[in-house]
Amino acid sequence: MSSHAPDPNVPEPASFAFTEANMVEATKIIAKYPAGRQRSAVMPLLDIAQRQEGWLSRTAMDYVADLLSVPPIRVYEVATFYTMYRLRPTGKHHIELCTNIACWLRGSDDVKRAAEDVFGVPFGSSNDDVTLEEVECAGACVNAPVVAYKDDYYEDLTYDTAKALFQAMKDGKPLTPGSQIGRQTSCPEGGPTTLKESA
């Protein structure tokens, strides 16, 4: 739990309800499951709630539980199991940096430093403006080091490209997701090295 646990100092919102558009989306998701198995929709619904609110308050979890007619504790169990459900509010910029072995070997420490230099707060801290968070393997080891921001990955970072990226985030400029060195998906860096000729 630790950093994932709810923050007792953050007040719970008084109420929570899906917006109309989200409700339509939720209804669609619930309809995917056979009658009596609506509880299976708990994860996508929590995701919708998190996107709407920015984080998952207990009020929101209770709302989802109510919507699916399951005891609230069953929703808390799911939400606390997965670290990508945020149980406390994040800053405006939520930067998730992978520091697992592949990213670390490829220079995630430099990216960490770049973030600290741009935002001026130590890594692992959070304020209204920014949350700098270390996450476990993002599953994009070939293009390490990797940063996840909003729904996109920013790959093949170095100190300089990372600094530019974070500055752009801070300034609200448009960003280019994916590899920052022009690599196509997860092809070898600098183009193919084998099977260059067709048979």
Binding site: M1, S2, H4, R58, P71, P72, I73, R74, Y76, E77, T80, F81
Partner: protein, 692 residues
Amino acid sequence: MPKLTIDGIEVEVPAGSTVLQAAESIGIEIPRFCYHERLSIAGNCRMCLVEVSPGPPKPAASCALPVAEGMIVKTDSPLAVKARKGVMEFLLINHPLDCPICDQGGECDLQDQALAFGYDRSRYNEPKRAVEEKYMGPLVSTEMTRCIHCTRCIRFATEVAGVPELGAVGRGEHMEVTTYVERAIDSELSGNLVDLCPVGALTNKAYAYIARPWELKKTESIDVFDAVGTNIRIDSRGGEVLRVLPRINEDVNEEWLADKGRYAIDGLKRQRLDRPYVRKDGRLQPATWAEAFGAIAERVKGASGASMAALAGDMACAESMVLLRDLMSSLGSRSLDCRQDGAAFDVTQRESYLFNSGIAGIDEADALLIVGSNPRWEAPVINARIRKRYLRGGFKVAMIGEPRDLTYKHENLGAGVDVLRQVAAGTHPFAEVLKVAERPMIILGMGALTRPDGAAVLALANTLATDLGVVKDGWNGFNVLHTAAARVGGLEAGFVPGPNGRDLEGILKGCESGAVDFVYLLGADEIPMARLGKAFVVYQGSHGDAGAMRADVVLPGAAYTEKDATYVNTEGRCQRTHRAVFPPGDAREDWAILRALSEVLGHKLPQDSLAQVRDRLASVSAVFDDDTAVPVSAWGTFGEPGGEPGELADAPFESVITTYYMTDPISRASRTMAECTEVYGKGNQQRTGTNG
């Protein structure tokens, strides 16, 4: 039926059994933490690893492994033992070594199994995990650092108790068992969590730091806080009852015990009557037994039998009731009643006041109508049995009475008498459900029978049972759910008005008019004392409650833990309590008090020993005789004379219990029960926990 070999022994078990169950059937015990025969299988502790071939060359969890033809299982091969030792080492990584200050010490599964599978030293030098304290209410104390994540408590709360409030949050090493919102577990069975917990994570709050299991004297007995007749074990040390645990009885309580029976025992140490009292100059003054008996004798001398009456309370034992009956009749009085709530049974027909299908019969029922009862409060263990049946499916439950959360899905048909009349007449849709059911069942609560029109309701229920096939060949689903442990025993012992005798209402009216001027209360506290008028009241009982306050002479009796006594549960099952401790001070066993009093009154009862009293009981009813089968009488009509539904009031059916935790002199004197009442609220099931 697949055949397999376990440790060289060939065994044949039903398909679908697990290897662990198969091993158990031939007496091989496989260590386990998470597996529990009354809960679903989780398979997460990994302690029950065994070596199985054919199959992958690695140990398998026997609790979750279905048997297959030709399986060869080794439960203590070097591989299996080594695997378990590994599991144990992992479990002990985060388990604190605080056994010396842990309440579970001495009866801890982990401790016992660590003895068999633990290494004598630790290879773990890193910091151990610590878990924040959790709040689970006034009954269960927690030390979650000790938790080994077997999830038995979660499964019990969700499956048996039907209150899905416990869960496991977080994951891996950070997993924590919690209510998440820090509130008291809203169940009347929460004490069973303590029994289920294989370690000291959940312990009995009221028993915290009091004793070690090997210091306790264990006495097998019967619970008297409701009419279920739960089999219990009383653990005592010196003159003190320290805790109560359930015993296994598949026909009655399986292995559960309701919270009142477990936790109200601190009431046995408070408000006790430990010496006789006689009222002098308007105040109760301490007296000797001789003075107390003298005061009664003086009052009784020359009094006519018609002016005397006796009432028995909810916890009176059958022995004292039969002796009081004999004493009253030798004094010429026929005015007796063991129904201090005024319930209208047909005392001549046993079927009219018994839980005829038996508690185990619930397992076979396929439709249920509950009338005027809230089984969750009146008999939590029976309610859990109903829920168990409900979970198996194909079981329709409906209820006539105030809407209640019974922990299982049911249809509330309404609270009025009208609904019952419609069902009985067959015009209500639920009548059809009962009619087509193979084994329909009706549970008639005290809320339906203690009303002024109780006899008419009984007659209506009788008609309903006959017409809708609730009673048929080989099945009697007409069930009366009592709330008092003493009631059926009293009815069987004949503690009911004799010819021309007065019943409860008659006695109270007689007191008001002055026709009755001597009332003997045998532990009867729940009657309107103000209506006793100017009558001379003798109170014999264990606690200084309403009865003793009103009494002119108080005779201190023994509580159920302090005497060998007979109780008949709501099914008509005769069971005996055994003395765990002695009554306090000058208090005596109740039958002995009556025997001594009878001599002073000049009508000496012939019974000089408990055995003789029990012979007397056996001569009154076969129920009390272990050697005689109780004759089953034919199903008849009962209720208002002639079986005709009489005048029915329109008042809705309400349960007689408004505060689960305080229903009798013992629980009213209990501090723990007072705390529960505070936390869980009175008269409703609203949650008032710290965050509720």
